[in-house]
């Protein structure tokens, strides 16, 4: 297995590079505006989310967090992370994969900002507040996820560049006897590693093999980093061997 190169300031694009070095004290990360006031013994983190157009939300108020730290001066770093729950991507147009066919989709998901003082995590904030959603066969069995709309593009060149999104290549191999409907795709983000090639953020690639047994799919997480990429963050919930089985209705709907 190819190992990831080490993280250097040039490994990640702006504005993350300055934030990761602890140089910047203010940042606009997609919709998240945050500022840091760091004194000898305490650190204040003020943040708010820019309102969405035409939104009637009334609870997007500025928040302040205060952290008490012992003595020595601490460097506050902000580094990118993947979401803490799976993300359900909904292709803009309902898509179906025919039997005995294979395809690779590129799905981008929102990054989170991890604020840390040395090795201590102070807060983790999404750069865009995503809606919660439920993914499962019914309201009893399933999991709580974040909802995200995607174009689920086939060609990487068409994927829009954003320093606040990570691209997950998902190869789906349908060996079943009927179509796989891709109305909603569950991307198990907490099991994936975050990489960056200096320009774009990537996650581990996913390979989904749907066997002839219709109910179960094999999910393989490719731990090999993309070319020229360095590891930015390890998976939140690593899976031994990178292979696990999942019910098809917990992956696609």
């Amino acid at each position: 297995m190819e190992t990831a190169k080490t993280l250097t300031p040039n490994s990640i694009p702006a504005p993350w590079n300055e934030l990761a070095n602890g140089v910047a004290t203010q940042a606009q990360l997609e919709r998240l505006s945050l500022s840091i006031r760091n004194t000898r013994d305490e650190c204040w983190l003020d943040y708010h989310y820019d309102p969405i157009e035409n939104s009637q939300r009334i609870s997007d108020e500025a928040q302040s967090l205060r952290f008490l730290l012992s003595g020595s001066s601490n460097t506050i770093r902000i580094t990118p992370q993947l979401a803490n729950r799976p993300v359900v991507a909904r292709p803009m147009v309902p898509t179906e994969l025919l039997p005995k066919q294979s395809t690779t989709l590129f799905i981008s998901t929102i990054l989170w900002a991890r604020v840390s003082a040395d090795e201590l995590t102070l807060a983790e904030l999404p750069t865009v507040r995503l809606s919660d959603t439920w993914f499962g066969a019914n309201t009893r069995h399933g999991e709580l996820c974040y909802a995200s709309q995607t174009r689920a593009l086939l060609n990487l060149d068409n994927v829009q560049y954003s320093p606040f999104r990570a691209i997950t290549p998902i190869t789906i191999d349908n060996q079943g006897i009927d179509n796989v409907r891709l109305d909603r795709i569950n991307v198990p983000v907490p099991h994936l590693t975050l990489y960056c090639d200096g320009e774009r953020f990537w996650t581990s690639a996913l390979r989904v093999l749907r066997e002839t047994n219709l109910a179960i799919a094999n999910l393989h997480i490719d731990n090999k980093p993309p070319s020229q990429a360095v590891q930015i963050a390890p998976p939140r919930r690593p899976i031994r061997g990178g292979v696990f089985e999942r019910a098809v209705d917990l992956l696609f709907a």
Partner: protein, 291 residues
């Protein structure tokens, strides 16, 4: 024969070897029962209530006591017979407690709720603190301690509010007859869409419930994660008010339409008047009087 003599006779009849065996059995019983309770608390029985974990320990110890008595030459049939009579007597005296104990076994066996769940039983809603031999203890949201006998729990409807990870909040919304229903539906769905705590799936639903005296009644159903349920119900009510005000959708108030049948009554022309049921409305009072 005095009591001292009796004790002396009994002790005299006990062989030293038998006494040692009995003592060993009692010690072993104590050790095994404690070991069992400790393992039960850490192992696969850790989810069971404490009294059930201890019950196994008591049973083990009782068996060892019986064996020790047997070693000492006591006839167990007599002891068991006496225990039977005693248990009948105790059973009559403690019918309620016995009913609660038996109900407790069913409550635990059924596993409708466990410690930490939020349940609604009778008039009480709260977090389950413990499921004990005689009762279930709750902490209500206003921080009161409630003890509900197991027998009552068995007989009453119990709603477990934290069993499933997501919950649905049904919000009653009424709009005036003048308001556009399609627009209200669109605004409500946008409110759900804009609130990140409101689940995208299962989809929010807007259902027309019927036509009230003065309002069109709508049920707005939204889903949220269990832990966000109270927050979302509070926030969405406020967001609906703001969104309806912005969209010009009216909340109704009670109205009465009075038709005056006699066209020439007191020289008044035939007409219709809308009368509001507000005591402070002078016109409304006058019209009612005239009618």
């Amino acid at each position: 024969m005095s009591a001292a003599n009796t004790v002396q006779n009994v002790l005299g009849a006990i062989d030293l070897q038998e006494a040692v065996r009995a003592a060993v059995l009692l010690t072993a019983g104590l050790v095994f029962s404690r070991l069992y309770v400790r393992l039960a608390r850490r192992g696969t029985l850790s989810h069971l209530p404490r009294f059930l974990q201890r019950l196994g320990g008591w049973l083990i110890f009782t068996i060892f006591i019986a064996s020790a008595l047997h070693q000492l030459g006591f006839k167990l049939s007599v002891v068991l017979g006496a225990a039977g009579i005693l248990s009948v007597a105790v059973g009559f005296a403690a019918q309620t407690s016995a009913a609660n104990i038996i109900s407790g076994l069913f409550v635990i066996g059924e596993r409708s709720f466990i410690v930490g769940d939020i349940i609604q039983a009778g008039n009480h809603t709260g977090e389950v603190l413990s499921v004990d031999m005689l009762s279930v203890k709750l902490r209500t949201f206003d921080n009161r301690f409630v003890r509900i006998p197991n027998e009552t729990i068995i007989k009453t409807d119990v709603v477990n509010l934290s069993r499933f990870p997501i919950r649905r909040a049904d919000i009653k919304v009424s709009i005036s007859y003048k308001s556009n229903i399609a627009k209200a539906r669109e605004v409500l769905l946008r409110v759900a869409e804009n609130n990140p705590l409101c689940l995208e799936e299962p989809r929010p639903q807007v259902n027309l419930q019927g036509f009230g005296e003065s309002s069109v009644d709508i049920q707005f159903s939204i889903w949220s994660a269990r832990e966000n349920f109270a927050d979302i119900r509070d926030a969405v009510h406020e967001e609906i008010k703001v969104a309806f005000d912005a969209a010009g959708i009216e909340f109704p108030f009670p109205t009465r339409t009075v038709h005056i049948a006699n066209a020439d009554f007191m020289g008044m022309p035939r007409h219709e008047l809308a009368v509001r049921d507000e005591p402070s409305t002078r016109d409304a009072d006058d019209t009612k009087h005239d009618a």
